[in-house]
Assembly symmetry: C2
Amino acid sequence: MSLIVQKFGGSSVANAESIKRVAKRIVETRKAGNEVVVAVSAMGDTTDDLLDLAHAVAPIPAPREMDMLLSAGERISMALLAMAIESLGHDARSFTGSQAGMITDARHGAARIVDVTPVRLREALDEGAIVIVAGFQGFNRDTKDITTLGRGGSDTTAVALAAALNADICEIYTDVDGIFTADPRVVPKASKIDRITSEEMLELAANGAKVLYIRAVEYARRHGVTLHVRSSFNNNEGTIVYNPSETEPAVEEPMIAGVATDLSEAKITVVGVPDIPGKAAQIFTIVAKTGANIDMIVQNVSAASTGLTDISFTLPKSEGQLVLTALRAEQEETGFKALQYDDQIGKLALVGAGMRTNAGVSAKLFTALFDAGINIEMISTSEIRISVVTRADTINDALRVVHTAFGLDADEEAVVHAGTGR
Amino acid sequence: MSLIVQKFGGSSVANAESIKRVAKRIVETRKAGNEVVVAVSAMGDTTDDLLDLAHAVAPIPAPREMDMLLSAGERISMALLAMAIESLGHDARSFTGSQAGMITDARHGAARIVDVTPVRLREALDEGAIVIVAGFQGFNRDTKDITTLGRGGSDTTAVALAAALNADICEIYTDVDGIFTADPRVVPKASKIDRITSEEMLELAANGAKVLYIRAVEYARRHGVTLHVRSSFNNNEGTIVYNPSETEPAVEEPMIAGVATDLSEAKITVVGVPDIPGKAAQIFTIVAKTGANIDMIVQNVSAASTGLTDISFTLPKSEGQLVLTALRAEQEETGFKALQYDDQIGKLALVGAGMRTNAGVSAKLFTALFDAGINIEMISTSEIRISVVTRADTINDALRVVHTAFGLDADEEAVVHAGTGR
């Protein structure tokens, strides 16, 4: 008997009809002879509605109470889902994050899982029940308080349960057919990826692919959980995200997995930095203190005549003002001339195995962009990724030409559904 | 320093504005130097909305999951209330029924409190925080499952907390100014009762007064908790429901506390019962097996010529068909001739101390009704109550004439708000 963990996002359980549809799907998996554990998000707009209420009663809602409030969302969806399954004649039991043994640290709103003790889930499974768990939420042992895991928390819940219960697979149900070689809303001929390593998936997610959250993929990679990202609207096979065994032969030829784009970042350029040892360290120490998530860093070649250089880096737009303020406060001590802030950039990342060792990949990427008249402003590479920064308004063109240049276009156009999850 | 428990029902926290208003009121009590524990119901229509969802996904929702679902309602209101208080600059912490130590039996949907262990509440109070507790919900130690207390559960939560924390008073906030001598919607000159014993309050509640639930009053009486029923819309003194000390002198003159009416009952008459010993016992054994809540019982004088008698009793309309079916199934064995079912009855109860020992009270009651042309169909008395059954369509007239006859009319008309709580 296999143990399957299934995750359904908010758009899959948006109303009573959707919940009944998902219940049928879960029962089919059980009938096929599997043990089933389900992680479920709050229904559709519930979380947004609760956030609106919170801000209507308090300008800055207390974080502990915010978590208490938001955790009501999954409580509703999981109880309804369990009821719907029971009315189909199968035993089902819902469990809160705390009941499921999802132990976290005490950071309200962005808690990290520190332990999973699914004793009650294992008992319920042994008694033949289908287990429904509230996604997104946990429990801190010291404060005894409810916590939430932040963005993508339900994905992380599912993966953590799969790891703790030693599940055979963790199915992430979503409103698209799987992971695509590019965003199908921009590149209609994007093709579904059948198999991708967790490392490549991590790069795609970190570079703007929205289907899976980075934290969930990281957790899956660290704990050896295999993911199956698939649609809740059909029975098609989706995308398997796997951890290659160490004995698997290394890739000789570059294998492009996909292309991701991201418009959520901004670029800060520190202009006229004295080109003496330790200056870059000084600047990034200031930035690090703000807690900002720096992505790409480029240092220009110093002009010999001035002894000054420019340092550029990208970071989420939401953190831009914070970092600018921190740098300005230390301008005199650091000795730079000026700061430039540019929030009209787009980032494109080409992800796949064997990339760095094959110079032809970069050449083909740069040529495709040049032929399309798209200017490259920054470049960064890793073992399995090449990222470039362009103007924001050219990013979709860039995505299409790169997708075509690397032979990723499918014969038919992909079907796209709308929706978001948490 | 006094410890005050305050209960706010669903209509008092129906939206963000109401929640902010209630938060201010709670903070005022804290600022006056009191420790404050608040029991809160779900916002306005939340419970009805959740019930609708449950019935949309499952024809007969599983009771365990129903409790899990409904308990989300107070989780939302209590977190919002705590946020609103914190934004007024006071430390506040919300606790679920389980966190508050509200231990119940395992009867989902109608759980009984078996123990209250408010360790975390006492800690939070000692740290200077205002404590907000989810009304209506508890936790079963054996199954480790969430339970709900059923109708009036939030009142019961408040009273149980007041008893366990040895509170000085338990304030029940509602949308009326207190307990009235009669329903002000029917008797505009009904007057607010300043003080009433818990025993009298119990009779009023049991006979149709909707402001307080019987279970909460019973709990308060058993544990010696003093209640203060008052409006959340003004600062007027409401009604004190107290437990008279044993040394208090017995009442000599009848003191009428109030008049309650109830249209929720029906009358079943078992016609032509053989007038031999044991027949009544046989009939009520059948009725008892259905679990129905029998109220008034009247056995007619037997007609000597036939050796047959009629037995009538009242019970909630919702239990009528169940009891009729049970009686019909045993008709042959019991030997009665027929069953009559009458759901067009109204019940009026006059409540007050020293009632039975003063024959003048019954005489005045019957005379008032006779003068108004209202026929009495059944009569039942207790130490502090006289109840009569009339036609349903005469009950409001009956209420008004009795209220006037016993000198209960106030000089001014009462102000009435609409709304319900749970």
